[in-house]
Symmetry: none
Subunit: 191 residues, 2 copies
């Protein structure tokens, strides 16, 4: 969502000096140990506990958090996988059967709406086949009769639904609402 705000998310108006380095970088010893685990021991799928353990030990070699270890493994796996994928259509042999350049690259074929496993789009199947979502329930707080979006009144934000474009004219931009009122959440508005 707020990818464009990646590191700056916490910024939120307060311009954190660019000098503060937010991004973790593995120290050589850390990197060596991580690689040792990954390549030497073939340790590619650390459990949460193991991640913590690894992180704990790596702290000797510099500041590090669990998430760094987590991301490190994730990214390494991803990059390895991607690398292999790139080499799969090597021109070995000669007959390149890459079917690129098909006609109508602009054909938006997703109109068929490939709804996968989520049956809630058609009929709520939760409970019957034990398919989807959670257990609607009793144990959460309010909201029972879902007045989420009053058809005629205000939306969750308390804005009246009028007929003036609000978001800036995205897809449809037919009926809208002036949802200018709330700013509570660090919204990281894009340009």
């Amino acid at each position: 969502m707020e990818q464009q705000t990646q590191q700056q998310i916490e910024d939120g108006g307060n311009n954190q000096a660019a000098g503060t380095n937010n991004r973790w970088a593995p120290t050589p010893p850390q990197l060596r140990i991580l690689k040792g685990l990954y390549y030497d021991k073939g340790f590619k799928y650390p459990t949460p506990e193991q991640i913590q353990e690894i992180c704990l030990h790596l702290k000797q070699y510099g500041q590090i958090e669990d998430k760094n270890v987590f991301f490190w493994f994730q990214n390494l796996k991803a990059s390895e996988r991607q690398k292999l994928k790139e080499f799969r259509n090597v021109p070995v042999g000669g007959s390149l059967d890459l079917n690129f350049g098909s006609t109508g690259s602009t054909s938006n074929d997703r109109s068929t709406d490939r709804s996968i496993d989520l049956n809630f789009g058609s009929r709520v199947g939760y409970g019957a086949d034990g398919s989807i979502m959670e257990q609607r329930g009793e144990y959460h707080q309010e909201i029972e009769t879902l007045p989420l979006f009053p058809m005629h009144g205000e939306d969750i934000l308390g804005n009246m639904k009028t007929t003036s474009e609000g978001g800036g004219g995205y897809g449809g931009g037919s009926h809208i609402s002036l949802e200018l009122s709330l700013n509570s959440y660090r919204d990281a508005d894009m340009a």
Copy 2:
């Protein structure tokens, strides 16, 4: 693990041009409304019906499907939960700090650091209710009881733990060791 087929499932052999964006991205208005529901109203567990309703309303602001809403809530919930979990072991706060004033990474605990996911720290194995989760059994190779870092022995590399460096010897490697055994990995970094 057929996960790698994610977007490519329907693709088949037809290389979907990169132009067609498969992945949904919330438009700012959509995001704002979703956040409004989640944070403002504390609406965290939408039922299928509610998901449909939300989706319907969000369609005004751009293309969106039920599953997007569904996943959005799922991911945000997970994200939040894990985020809190992370606070459990914040880096050493007091005197013994690991920041050896190198790259100016004197940044202390970034509490405000919108830490992220990190699902670890939860289950995995030990079924509290007696039900031992299957989990890792035939997925990968071995490694079950993780003797990753023997408390008293050598680490993965066969180096004795001295605990004296404490990050003191950054690149210098105050602790030597016969880590010559493994060099298979491209130690690209450092320098």
